[in-house]
């Protein structure tokens, strides 16, 4: 009973990253800092009258998954490059983007726990229980967020490798995304010109999904949210695959691929 090659490579990357992260706890920093973020958001919401509690509980979970994915995406390829693993990898016929995706997925999945942490901070720290109206949908939404983050981060990983400059913009990919994705503050409260840009960010759709799953009695946009979120993420992954093979080819031709 043999699995297809792409799955083998994806799983190999996933398992490798689990083993690496177990010994490099620094990669899980986001999970340690998440409760403090939750505390900040919750304190603001409660100070001003506890409207929109759902939003501030859901927000840190989304931030956690994205932040941890971005973090590992920025480092996984460059560490491998300077560590010599990339050279060895070029001697195999495996797909670099699949392995990178597998590795990022492991970390993105771990990031889902920040949502639970957020819920617990609300409960234990502030005495607020956010009722999970549709727990199965919550899990689905979290999974979609994790997968979407991993796919998008894979695109970024290859982008970082192709251009040295892009790396410096890594910092700009956190808060702008949180704003554009309507992670805590819904887009509807922001100026109109932002709306079209937001719809291109997969987080916008999965944030909506997660909010609805956590709170609203009848989540009616499940199909749309799921479809858009995954669709955008898949598009990002496809672009990432293309960029990664360009990166590989450049390595083989130049042995430099943009770096000195």
């Amino acid at each position: 009973m043999s699995r297809p090659a792409w799955l083998v490579q994806l799983a190999a990357g996933f398992r490798l990253q689990l083993a690496v992260t177990r010994r490099t706890p620094a990669q899980l920093l986001v999970i340690v800092t998440a409760p403090l973020f939750s505390t900040i958001f919750l304190s603001v919401a409660l100070h001003y009258g506890s409207a929109h509690i759902i939003d501030v509980v859901v927000g840190p979970g989304l931030i956690g998954v994205w932040a941890i994915s971005l973090d590992v995406a920025a480092s996984v390829l460059s560490i491998d490059r300077w560590g010599g693993q990339l050279e060895l990898f070029l001697g195999t016929s495996a797909s670099l983007s699949l392995v990178v995706l597998g590795r990022i997925l492991a970390v993105s999945a771990a990031g889902m726990i920040t949502f639970l942490e957020s819920w617990l901070v609300a409960r234990a720290g502030f005495g607020i229980t956010v009722p999970m109206e549709h727990p199965a949908l919550v899990v689905l939404a979290l999974l979609i967020t994790a997968v979407g983050s991993a796919f998008t981060a894979t695109l970024l990983a290859s982008g970082f490798m192709l251009s040295r400059n892009l790396h410096v913009f890594q910092n700009s990919l956190s808060y702008p995304i949180y704003i554009l994705g309507g992670i805590v503050v819904p887009i509807s409260t922001l100026p109109d010109w932002i709306h079209p840009i937001s719809t291109a960010v997969y987080l916008y759709w999965s944030a909506d999904l997660l909010r609805n799953a956590a709170g609203v009695a009848h989540p009616d946009r499940v199909a749309l949210d799921t479809g858009m979120s995954l669709g955008l993420a898949v598009a990002a992954l496809a672009a990432g695959v293309v960029l990664t093979s360009r990166f590989e080819r450049r390595l083989r031709v130049d042995a430099t691929a943009g770096y000195g």
Binding site: A26, L29, V32, T33, L36, F37, T39, I40, F41, S43, V44, A45, L46, H47, Y48, G49, A51, H52, D55, V56, N165, V168, F169, Q170, N171, S172, S174, Y175, P176, Y178, I179, V184, V185, P186, T189, L190
Partner: protein, 268 residues
């Protein structure tokens, strides 16, 4: 004794020059503005928007002011990473063997971040009220600018203490930075007033940087009396001095201990 002091100043100057050169090497103007400054300004915007969403327009300004000022703290605290880096480059044993004190070298290591913090903070403070349409009372607001510089300084001293912990225990630099900075954001009156928190947390906030400086800034903006404002500034300076003294002792201790136990060449 005066020769020692001159040596100390010179050491710090050298460290600062080095640090600036390093910053120049990492950033062009474009990458600094769009890769770093923009991110910080948007961080402030994000929290201000959250406050506006759950509260009122007044909440936006409250949050904006707090988050703009705390940017100075954030950047100053990067000294934690700089100090640990100094250790990782293996210069610690060399420094320990030299006759001068190592404290100024470490302390001087991240001075440019202090300056950078003031710039970011001021940028947010000046620009965002217009963008988010909650304008501040100028020219009175200009008085906040030197206070922000003070906050930057006191946060730097706080960061030096955390950095010395990072010298002692390897691998926790980022943890120290975040766990040092996030409580400031949470409890020091940045997003919600001090009165929101229970007494023990208020006591903690009292000895952390930003708390008093921010109260001074808010006092300036609301037209509080000079006495009140100056009082808070003095408190902030005292807090900073306290952290600086602790930092000095701890750095010295870590290096002495390293010489005694032979752990100095352990790379972080």
């Amino acid at each position: 004794m005066s020769r020692d002091r001159a040596g100390t100043v010179e050491l710090m100057r050298q460290s600062a020059v080095f640090a600036i050169a390093e910053m120049r090497a990492t950033h062009t103007l474009k990458t600094y503005v769009f890769g770093w400054l923009l991110r910080l300004v948007l961080q402030t915007t994000f929290f201000a928007l959250v406050a506006g969403y759950v509260g009122t327009r007044a909440s936006v300004q409250y949050s904006l002011v707090g988050n703009a000022v705390v940017l100075a703290c954030l950047e100053s605290m990067i000294v934690v990473l700089m100090m640990v880096q100094e250790r990782a480059t293996g210069t610690l044993p060399l420094l320990a063997a030299s006759p001068t004190s190592h404290v100024p070298v470490y302390v001087g290591r991240g001075l440019h971040w202090m300056a950078s913090g003031v710039v970011s903070s001021l940028t947010a403070f000046i620009l965002l009220p217009f963008v988010l349409r909650v304008p501040l009372p100028w020219p009175r607001a200009a008085l906040a600018l030197p206070i922000i510089a003070v906050v930057s300084l006191t946060s730097y001293c706080y960061g030096c203490v955390l950095g010395s912990l990072g010298l002692r225990y390897s691998g926790i630099a980022w943890l120290l930075l975040n766990l040092g900075y996030l409580p400031v954001m949470a409890f020091c009156g940045v997003n919600v007033p001090l009165s929101f928190w229970p007494a023990p947390l208020r006591a903690l906030a009292d000895i952390l940087p930003v708390t008093h400086g921010l109260l001074a800034v808010r006092g300036v903006l609301t037209g509080a009396s000079a006495g009140v404002v100056v009082g808070q500034i003095v408190l902030e300076l005292l807090v900073g001095l306290g952290w600086l003294i602790v930092a000095s002792i701890m750095i010295d201790f870590v290096v002495r201990r390293g010489i005694a136990t032979g752990s100095l060449d352990f790379e972080g």
